[in-house]
Point group: C2
């Protein structure tokens, strides 16, 4: 029997409170850190710019020399190699502003005539000059611990001369596929009553996509001792995902074994498909038991395993990619179940996929996304506008 | 001078029409194909299930034997090793339904007493039996050419026994950073007038993130001959990104060189920041010239390089991750410019980042996303609700 069917969000909260994020870090070259989580706040050790920088192509001048200049009354300065009263120097964008100069006249406001230049605009001091530290000041905090690095952040850190960076290591997730009917992919043709193992592979790929490191283990048959052994030898991982054997049938030993080795927090969730999911903690490590039905397993991955991975790896939550669409047909759901209805998108129409159950694997491939129906709602009507969460 | 400032969307359309997607494919093990684009439609070569499959744990029966069974009037069958009139067989979910049986009685509707079982429910034929090909029929098209593979698709293909798959190869993008002020990262400290090269690195990382293969080349100084050489030797790539030298200053040779070697389609775009961006075609290969100012360069990457990469690699467009937020301050933009305003998010508030220009590198790191303002709008008011496109 199920321990007790628990509300989906409550089950997730209970689970996430029961373990801690990992603290170990590693130092990596900054080019390898896209999407990694920084493990220390980064303080600028230099000013950017580290010199007074021309912000425009033009002439570096003493601003006071441009006093009275206007479109009909140019002032004339001599062009040379240093700036002093009555003299100016040609500069490029980004080049140092010479000593003595405190402004840069844009090319558009100047006309060069031989070794003199007519200046048609009066400048205040600092105009078109990037002062030292204007962009980033030495000692300023650039990025805070826990930030997920993007290529643009890596560019900023590189501009500060930072070559290596300390990030949290990726959570290692051990994945144990169970089921005597399973045959490893690439091996012999499955006979009657046999199928290729696919859920473990799917879990391993999603974990990698979401920022974890996957360790896909060998298939374990439906025997409590074998399942126990497999879990015990995987406890050096940060999280364990077990696929299959979570229901209440004769061969469903997984939740019981988890309860023997640790604490079975949840067995039976108000989530559809995915009701037989189970959640537990063994030696402080989170354990997600995915139902063996592929779609139910996938929902358990999305809803529980991803959340747990994010907590473990200190990966900030991010909104899913979603599309607003109008339902072509009504979707029925059961009160008490957070329902993940598969839909196909055609322009801005969401077409519910008729499926006779969670076992219909092909409905996943046909689906572009999920419409998620809260447990207190009985479904959505044809013509309703809904958010479709795209399946990654 | 700029060729002509072109509307941002027109420039993109003109550019995308001027080159073709790549057609070369490669065969890869299916586990390596997450996020890859399939180059052939996939037809099922087997039925799934390939045998009649029990959909429940219970007893396989002849449906006709359950005639008249009800909660108060069980019919009694003998449990054995084969199914015939008056006899049934215990089956697990997923196990083959024995010959002779055409339905499965759920455990919940049966009570086992010794070697007999009381059945409390009358079943129609096929109840709880997954027929051959019910999920996927042999010959059915599972995934169409051009589909971007997700872990759940890979699971479906694996269940069909598919081990390798033909995908389009990743577009190779050569990235040429230009500028005499640039110093390679990890080398000597930059002196006055020098900065570390960061835009090319940023471009390389975004290209990889978006599904391309990056080839980051050596820094080229601001000399037309050198730029020409670098472009010529990169023409075996599928796309070229050149960073810097795109404006109209004395040292800005890039667009001119592109025009000499091929067709300069666009120079000067109604995009802010990013006006000096240029777009061209050389030997049929798209060339994106990113402004050297980091934020302007990033906008050109997001707006032009990503679109070009998707077309080249046949990568389907996908919606950006966005968040709805309320502006804490007004944002001003210029008519005629599609404006990418950087904002920081705090809960559901979008705080515009005060910046004195596209050169302010640190504003990128501080930004969570862009508010994109169309060219026919002058900005958004404080308190307006806007979509914030999260920076990846």
């Amino acid at each position: 029997m199920f321990k007790k069917r628990m509300n989906a969000d409550e089950a997730k909260d209970l689970f996430l409170k029961a373990f801690s994020p990992i603290s170990e870090t590693e130092s990596l070259p900054i080019e390898a850190c896209d999407d990694r989580i920084i493990a220390e706040s980064i303080t600028a050790n230099v000013d950017v710019p580290h010199y007074r920088r021309a912000a425009m192509d033009g002439f570096a001048v003493r601003a006071s020399d441009t006093l009275g200049a206007g479109s009909n009354s140019p002032v004339i300065l001599r062009v040379g190699k240093n700036v002093e009263k009555g003299k100016c120097v040609w500069v490029h964008t980004g080049s140092p502003v010479p000593e003595g100069a405190d402004a840069v006249v844009m090319m558009e406001d100047a006309v060069l005539r031989g070794d003199s230049v007519e200046i048609f605009s009066q400048l205040p001091p600092s105009r078109n000059v990037g002062e030292i530290g204007e962009d980033i000041q030495k000692g300023e905090i650039i990025l805070k611990e826990g930030h997920k690095l993007r290529p643009c952040d890596i560019a900023v850190l590189t501009s500060l001369g930072i070559g290596d960076i300390k990030v949290f290591r990726k959570p290692v997730v051990a994945i144990i596929p169970t089921g005597e009917e399973l045959v490893p992919r690439g091996k012999k043709e499955p006979g009657a009553g046999e199928v290729y193992e696919t859920n473990g592979l799917m879990a391993a790929m999603y974990i990698m996509k979401w920022g974890g490191a996957s360790r896909l283990l060998d298939i374990v048959t439906d025997a409590p001792e074998k399942i126990k052994e497999a879990i015990m030898s995987a406890l050096d991982a940060d999280m364990i995902i077990i696929s299959g054997g979570t229901s209440v049938g004769k061969r469903d030993y997984v939740p019981e074994v988890v309860g023997t080795l640790g604490d079975l927090l949840v067995h039976g969730v108000g989530i559809s498909p995915g009701k037989p999911a189970a959640l537990g903690i063994i030696n402080g490590k989170p354990v997600v038991c995915m139902p063996g039905y592929p779609v139910a397993g996938m929902v358990a991955l999305y809803f529980f395993a991803r959340a747990a991975l994010r907590k473990l790896g200190r990966i900030p939550d991010e909104p899913d990619r979603t599309v607003r669409a109008v339902l072509s047909e009504k979707i029925v759901s059961r009160i008490g179940y957070k329902t993940f209805a598969r839909v196909k998108l055609s322009n801005c129409t969401a077409i519910p996929l008729a499926t006779s159950g969670a076992g219909i694997l092909s409905s996943v491939s046909k689906a572009d996304g999920f419409v998620i129906i809260p447990p207190n709602v009985e479904g959505y009507e044809k013509g309703e506008e809904v958010d479709v969460v795209l399946i990654e």
